[in-house]
Symmetry: C2
Subunit: 259 residues, 2 copies
Amino acid sequence: MNILIVYAHPEPRSLNGALKDFAVRHLQAAGHAVQVSDLYAMDWKAALDARDSLDGAAQDRFDPVLDARRAYDSGRQSPDIAHEQDKLLWADTVLLQFPLWWFSMPAILKGWVDRVYANGFAYGVGEHSDRHWGDRYGEGKLAGKRAMLMVTTGGWASHYGARGINGPIDDLLFPIQHGILFYPGFDVLPPFVVYRTGKVDEHGFGALCHQLALRLDTLSTTAPIPFRLQNRGDYEIPALTLRDDLASGLSGFAAHRRS
Amino acid sequence: MNILIVYAHPEPRSLNGALKDFAVRHLQAAGHAVQVSDLYAMDWKAALDARDSLDGAAQDRFDPVLDARRAYDSGRQSPDIAHEQDKLLWADTVLLQFPLWWFSMPAILKGWVDRVYANGFAYGVGEHSDRHWGDRYGEGKLAGKRAMLMVTTGGWASHYGARGINGPIDDLLFPIQHGILFYPGFDVLPPFVVYRTGKVDEHGFGALCHQLALRLDTLSTTAPIPFRLQNRGDYEIPALTLRDDLASGLSGFAAHRRS
């Protein structure tokens, strides 16, 4: 398959860099075509602004939503944005790899999302009616593709457990896995998470590579997180609240997975 | 009081810009000293990298954690970082204002957090022992100060409700309110959230300003979100899991608020 790794770490000789290099070699050895968007090496522009359209703002004030749509529809997006969109369309599977900084992705990767996920490409797709609220949450231009997070953190697994002080890792990643990946259509695989990065020695690194290889070898067969599709009857439209008879008594992120 | 507004929107004539201008005027009229970090106007550098230390990386490879610490301890941080830290120390109350982009903050604001929240300033503070796991989650250099989010989103309130498809707004904001604000010591006030920004006309804007004024007038008296302190007995150390006898049966973000 075609695999895109979007990678965000400032130091090539870091643990993240070594894991990325291992993943590329391992996937290529298995016969896959691999592209890497190494955001730091690309000096990726993180801040979404009027320069993201070759025509600038249409009116005297910049509108992040409408100007992105106009640039997308007219083929006048900044070339760095269009190039990343092409890579996403090329890929069968997308891996987002990053260190968890302040319980989310590094700014440079957030800026990749903010800019590449343009209106017309990742949102604002499909009809809005009383039965269908846009092609999103399981539908969209990236439907049929798979995605997985590869995340490292200095904290302990217990700190990110069900009652750990940082909050459960799956809940911390929900805005990314559900809100950024499932939203434009990806099937989202359970994340590959590395804890206590400061304690990873040569032996530990070998073990991590072994675990990662197992995940890379099963990218096409691993069951995705069973997030609920928006437009297939589970949600009231346009309120977009879960139907009363589904997951009764549940609220919060957990309600949006099929049981 | 001294109030710092950290503001992230690319267009001054946006709804966010108008709300920020209103907040500044209203707070100044009430006698407060106000500083604004207008990140787009400052052309804030979003990507954390080796240039954040005036000495670059200490070794042949850049370490985001150790190099930030060395620069902080030796007074060799990039001046833009040190200047923002000074503003945080000056402030009694900090407002983070931004549009919700992909269920989190814009990249430029995340980059403010990634870089200003240096090792030694916002984390890595205080002793680590079997009774105290660093000055964090309610303790730290920013303890005694208050913080509040001002967030706008195009989506409807119901989409962000208890069973709304995006997930509850309080849970989406937990990584910011608990992980970024409470972590270095802030008392965190309930957020000011504006929904359906596309529908805000002149009348709606007047109503919003009225609601915002009520929040700004009560910054010093509003009860903070009752997040649990890390080092006062609620958590096992070093596992940092909530004690079994507290919030029994609860897991996830909700367990970290006192009932």
